[in-house]
Amino acid sequence: MLQGTLIYGFINSVVLMLVALGFSVTFGISGVANFAYGALYVMAGYLSWLGLHSLGLPYWLAAPGAVAITAGVAAMIYWFILLRVRGLVVSEVIATFGMGLAILELFRYLGFIGFEYTLPPLIDASVMIGDTYVDAQRLCIVGAGILLAAFLWFFTHYTKTGLAFRGIAQDERTALTLGINADKVAAWSVAFGAGYAALAALVILPLGTIAVNEGYNVLVNALAVCIVGGLGSTVGIIVASFLIGFAQILTATYLETSWMMLVSLVAILAILVIKPSGLFGHQKQLEERI
């Protein structure tokens, strides 16, 4: 029992981390809060389903294709919509929110509802860890989570684009003078975050069906993790995912599965009271620069 709880708590935490990573990365780099995030996540799922079933593509084509298209759509949202309202926080938020809603509800309208909308697992098997059954897909999730988090760290510390990302994140104006195109970097960051969402979708969605409402759930979870961990802080995301992830599984094991959402809600309310900017968030102090 305890062992199972630990294993599933760990897996659940990684799921939350995967889901929140992309949102946080985009925000951390360019300050864009992409409220279309959940929609992009679900879109990646449907796209690869369409690739597999309507076009009959093999998995190794359909899945990367879906990731690429999702990232492309995100970049286009930035380039054609967000760029026009850049700097107006209200408009940015509303525009991404509206785009996400349009995408999700369009899928619903087009009838993408049902049990047939499932993605195949990467490996269809299950293993015993101690005396707990774990299907291989969940192990894939853990693998993907670790890989993606590690890649993010490597990318932002050792590649030129990644360093440009960090440059912009730290000081946009200085970065501009160094010849970094802030708009391009921001577009990349939105695409990058969406790519992460798509990858997360590909490994997580095989556990269930692809559903429109999943888009809202993902956004809620991503925001919850970011609020608790602190916006834009990768360490915060990881810590918060594990806090909420384990708390949820403990609730599910010892109380009731349906109470899991209550845990996130309580976590958010508690963190708002104790440390409003999140565990690792650096809330912008009211300071004047230069």
């Binding site: 509303i94 929110f97 809603l101 509800e105 309208y109 209550l262 004047e288």
Partner: protein, 334 residues
């Protein structure tokens, strides 16, 4: 020879911005016209409309209130993505008071208005300290989460909700209350926003540091704005609860967040009247589009994006400019 449009304020605007020095019937009529006509029009519409459309008007008024409530918050620099929170809290307070304690709607609605204001303000109080998108994030997820929590814990009727609540009376009574309320709220808050208190709220939005360095506790004022706004939203929720005779999870649905924002985007933020105008365009329109089913939300969302990006000014600003200024083409030398 190139041309350019020249705009000149009509005289009365220039003479005084606050207290009107009325000198002639013409000027009074000029000022009264855009205020009186819509008021009369709404009551006339209510009088001639069929029962079905009268209900639509009632709903429209409530969405207008939600949109106004959004705009009050935004004036003080808080962007909400979750008017459904205010709406839902008001709805549940009124619904439970009526169902469990048998209190009359004429009492539950005022109680829910104040109580909803207090509850929402307390819940969001910690977020007031944060700038930027935090407020939007928190307000967006709270209603969605509360919905889930009600589903899980089965409190207040759980997924079934509570039905069989008392009504205020017939549709005509409801319409009268709704219409009177919407005008009272609109005019009193517009008045408030043009007093120095309103300026202060706008000042917080423009530059919170400067307000603070004038020795004012901006969180205190933001909390007041939050209370006013959430009370208005809670009123709408409480009212609709009794109109539908039902309260349940749908009161926290995204519709109650998205339509008000879309109304603001269409009507134009910062005027309170603009958002109301937006609701009066969008809600009846959506009634006409009922046949489209799920596509309606898509259309809303697209309108939202298009208006936010392409029409940042909104219809109301445009109309008010046309009304308050002369426009003419003048030649300019190249």
């Amino acid at each position: 020879m190139a041309q350019r449009k020249e705009r000149i304020d009509r005289g009365i605007k220039v003479r005084s911005d606050d207290v009107f020095a009325l000198t002639s019937w013409r000027e009074m009529a000029y000022l009264a016209f855009p205020r009186v006509v819509p008021v009369v029009l709404l009551f006339l519409l209510g009088a001639v409309a069929s029962i079905y459309w009268e209900r639509v008007l009632v709903t429209t008024c409530m969405f207008a209130l939600l949109a106004i409530s959004w705009d009050i918050l935004a004036s003080a620099g808080m962007v909400s993505l979750g008017q459904a929170l205010f709406f839902g809290v008001g709805a549940y307070i009124a619904g439970t008071l009526n169902h469990y304690f048998g209190i009359s709607p004429w009492l539950t609605i005022p109680i829910a208005t104040l109580g909803g204001g207090v509850v929402c303000t307390l819940v969001l109080l910690p977020v007031l300290r944060l700038r930027g998108i935090y407020f939007a994030m928190v307000t967006m997820i709270l209603p969605l989460m509360i919905e889930r929590v009600i589903e899980a814990t089965k409190i207040f009727g759980g997924t079934e909700g509570i039905s069989g609540l008392n009504t205020l009376g017939n549709v005509h009574t409801e319409f009268l209350v709704a219409a009177v309320m919407v005008w009272v709220v609109l005019f009193s808050f517009r008045r408030m926003m043009s007093t120095d208190y309103g300026l202060l709220l706008k000042g917080i939005n423009d530059n919170d540091r400067a307000v603070m360095s004038a020795g004012m506790n901006i969180y205190y004022y933001k909390a007041q704005a939050l209370f006013l706004s959430s009370a208005v939203g809670a009123f709408a929720g409480a009212f609709m609860t009794h109109a539908y005779q039902f309260v349940g999870m749908p009161v926290f649905a995204l519709d109650y967040s998205i339509i008000p924002i879309a109304s603001v985007a269409v009507g134009g933020a910062g005027t309170l009247a603009g958002p109301m105008l937006g609701s009066f365009i969008l809600v009846p329109l959506s009634e006409l589009l009922r046949g489209l089913g799920g596509l309606r939300v898509v259309i809303y969302a697209v309108i939202l994006v298009v208006c936010t990006v392409g029409l940042p000014e909104g219809i109301f600003h445009y109309l008010s400019r046309k009304y308050n200024q002369f426009e003419r083409w003048v030649k300019v030398e190249r």
